[in-house]
């Protein structure tokens, strides 16, 4: 049978392709030359490609092969094969609805060609080069095909129409690409339980990333439980906006709010919930922005949920910027190129046009692109403003400095010069989450994973100011627990953000930044002294050490210290908050809505990480908590969370 099929398959080789008509061929050659000539008139002579190209290509392929040889090949179910292409096409349609029709006015030179062809949609085939005229002087655009013949479409008024946002529809990849092991995740082992008497101090850097949540969501929507290591609980928790009161003046960049409440999944422990809410810069005081979009246009970006989604996402962001802000675009594929020199947002059409002309193809030369993006950012540096490279990619920087460490060094260097870096991840199958984490953490930016246009709306529009305007830098949290009150504790999440105890006071150690209006939450599960949940035996000689403390401090559960720097300052400031009986609520229901909801998210994240602590705590209980603490939920994020928990419950058959 197998042989017979192979034979059947070989007859594919014997098919003859019907010859193209000579007229069609001539027309095509004519169109090619017409476009070529038009381009020649409007383009200055250009510089030539680099000599090391061949070597880069070789390295790329070797890298690919090495990775691919290790991977496991997942065989998609039959249903998947049918459903995915349809979902993909729907995704395309959605993307297309956001753009006006591509039809163009013909110009004289090529209209005859258009008329003689059979089907009716040929207007776009002609090559009106009016768009190119805007390119000035020796500036050389070098995306794979940035000046494609459809350039005229950019002349048509096009707005991103933010009013039209489809509900989160998973834009799946139509090809059932192997869901292989190429996605790399940054995560550590789940934080271990700490015994207060032995290690009373816990130190970590804040994390404002949300990439993990979007990744989890996508995975669940595709009907697969996410890999436990892809789940970073703190990113799940920090995905949601909470209604905590922020400070009213910029001199104190944030408020802290601490609540100690019973743990829903363990009656003998408590949760110590630490919420930090950043000061919100009002819109009129916004600093000027200098943004460089660094766009991956490698072949793998050629999927509906990658480059097209990326373009639409940036269009959304563009609407949030002021006319005085500058935007530039650098692309990278086989080589890096500048697709748009720094341009004021007031020349929006020009920016949109450059965006439209990005096309995908080739391998990935991330490092080159990154260097070029930094160069542009520095060339239009805004003193005291926001200088940021926004990297959009689906995966690797696999040419050039491939090691995460080398990249990290480059990004750290540039961070010192005042240019920060954010990473937006797109698509799936190739996503290198570890790279994203490394560079966003070291570039002091956000790492967000964008799977739908509504996610882009959340990250780039709703949270534009918190993603762009930093109010406090190098924010570190240190909690000291009182062994008289707390026997054991465990930090939920923040595995990738742990700092050494001595790093807290060391201003040279980098940590996360907080943007305008950002909220950050950290949750500890603590075991009170005398609780039956205690995992370790009490130390026979442990009690003597704290005997010297004043009586008042003996009552405190813990002492929370926050260190931060005002933007641009070298020395940190300290905020200290004792945690006392006043912070404790006796029943879980008495805790605030936001606290309870974040506890539900924490429970969900830990369950997805297969934490044994939650093995007897059901998804239905998570749903109950989340449902009761949904609140106003104006953007539907919490409702979406509930649907994800239900999905996970259905998928988790163990």
């Amino acid at each position: 049978m197998a042989n017979k099929l192979n034979d059947d398959f070989d007859i594919l080789r014997s098919t003859k392709v019907p010859q193209p008509s000579k007229e069609a061929r001539d027309r095509a050659l004519h169109a090619a030359l017409a476009a070529f000539d038009d381009a020649a008139e409007n383009n200055a002579p250009r510089t030539q490609g680099n000599a090391s190209g061949g070597r880069l290509t070789d390295r790329t392929f070797r890298f690919w092969r090495e990775v691919m040889q290790k991977k496991l090949i997942a065989v998609p179910a039959f249903a998947g094969l049918v459903a995915l292409p349809i979902a993909g096409v729907i995704g395309w349609q959605l993307m297309d609805e956001l753009r006006p029709d591509m039809t163009l006015p013909n110009d004289g030179a090529s209209s005859e060609a258009a008329e003689t062809t059979a089907s009716g949609h040929l207007g776009r085939r002609v090559a009106p080069q009016s768009a190119i005229v805007e390119d000035s002087g020796a500036f050389v655009p070098s995306a794979i095909s940035p000046r494609s013949v459809i350039s005229g479409e950019a002349l048509i008024e096009r707005s991103a129409r933010p009013g039209y946002l489809p509900q989160p529809v998973p834009m799946m990849v139509p090809s059932s690409a192997p869901s292989d092991g190429r996605e790399r995740f940054a995560n550590g082992d789940t934080n271990p339980l700490k015994v207060t008497a032995e290690a009373p101090v816990s130190t970590f850097s804040i994390d404002v990333d949300t990439a993990s949540y979007a990744f989890v969501r996508r995975s669940l929507r595709e009907g697969v439980l996410p890999l436990p290591e892809s789940v970073r609980v703190e990113e799940l928790i920090n995905y949601f906006p909470y209604d905590w009161q922020g400070p009213s003046s910029a001199s104190v960049p944030f408020n802290t709010r601490i609540t100690v409440m019973p743990t829903p999944w363990n009656e003998n422990t408590q949760l110590m919930h630490v919420a930090i809410k950043g000061y919100e810069i009002n819109q009129t005081a916004k600093p000027r922005s200098n943004l460089v979009f660094l766009v991956d246009v490698s072949g793998s970006m050629n999927e509906p949920d990658k480059l097209p989604l990326l373009k639409n996402s940036f269009r959304l962001l563009l609407d949030k910027l002021d006319s005085d802000d500058t935007v530039s675009i650098v692309t990278y594929a086989g080589r890096a190129g500048t697709a748009l020199e720094p341009t004021k947002v007031s020349e929006k059409q020009k920016i949109l046009q450059a965006l439209d002309h990005l096309e995908a193809g080739g391998s990935t030369a991330g490092e080159d692109g990154l260097r070029q993006a930094y160069q542009l950012a520095e060339s239009s540096f805004v003193e005291g403003g926001v200088n940021r490279v926004m990297l959009a990619t689906d995966g690797d920087f696999n040419v050039g400095q491939t090691s995460d460490d080398d990249l990290k060094r480059l990004i750290e260097d540039k961070r010192e010069s005042g240019v920060l870096l954010s990473v937006l991840g797109f698509g799936r199958g190739n996503l290198n989450d570890r790279m994203m984490q490394t560079i966003a953490q070291n570039g002091n930016g956000i790492a967000a994973y964008i799977d739908t246009l509504s996610e882009a709306e959340k990250v780039l529009v709703q949270e534009a100011s918190s993603s762009l305007f930093t109010i406090a830098q190098d924010v570190k949290v240190q909690v000291e627990f009182n062994p008289q009150q707390v026997a054991e504790y465990r930090l939920i999440g923040y595995e990738t953000r742990a700092l050494a105890r001595e790093d807290f006071n060391n201003d040279r150690v980098d940590a996360g930044d907080i943007g305008s209006g950002h909220s950050v939450t950290a949750i500890y599960e603590i075991t009170p002294v005398g609780s039956p949940a205690r995992m370790t035996d009490e130390l026979r000689y442990g009690g003597a050490r704290t005997q010297g403390s004043p009586a008042g401090e003996m009552e405190e559960l813990a002492f929370v210290k926050l260190r931060y720097k005002q933007p641009g300052e070298a020395h940190s400031k300290l905020i200290e908050t004792p945690v006392t009986e006043d912070n404790v609520v006796a029943r879980f229901d008495e805790a605030g809505e936001s606290e309870r909801f974040s506890a539900a998210v924490a429970a969900f994240g830990q369950k997805l990480r297969r934490s044994s602590d939650l093995s007897s705590f059901g998804y239905d209980q998570i749903i109950d908590i989340a449902n009761a603490s949904r609140g106003a939920d104006p953007y539907g994020y919490r409702a979406e969370f509930l649907s994800l928990v239900r999905l996970a419950a259905a998928l988790d058959t163990k």
């Binding site: 398959f9 594919l12 014997s14 030539q48 002609v126 794979i144 030369a365």
Partner: protein
Amino acid sequence: MMALAQMEQSLADRELARAAGRGDRAAFAALVERHYDFIYRVSWRLTGSRTEAEDIAQDVCARLGVAIRTYRADSAFTTWLYAIITNAVRDAGRKRVREGEKISAWARDLSITDTGPGDGPAEALWAAVRGLPAKQQEAVTLVYGEGLSHARAAEIMAVSETTVSWHIHEAKKRLKQIVSVGDA
């Protein structure tokens, strides 16, 4: 020896493309002349319609006239060209969908209306190939349609060789189902 010929051709392509990128009109004309058949063939394999393929090939040629200036010799010319072709095919497909044709119609029915010479078992199988997911379809087109090795197809698709083999494997499995359903 096949490989050697390919290598020579690919070097010549690179030279021509670079010259064309510098504004050498004759080099560009020669390049398009040389690759028109490849462009048309791939378009035909992916769409199954002669007129459609002719349209797309013309579209690709016109895009080339502009894009050639951005070509730098750090990827094989055919790899680069192939990306432009598949983009054009996808744009055309998207256009069709928007124009109200049914999704499945674009994938399958087109091949029946205009299969070219004869409609033997091979043509029927090609029609089935067009119903496959895009990447599988592309892999089959390059390996069976263009007679390329998996390695070469991988280079053109800018993926790894094992991915191409996987696509081919999946395509065969899928076609096996279709073929056996047809027999029964």
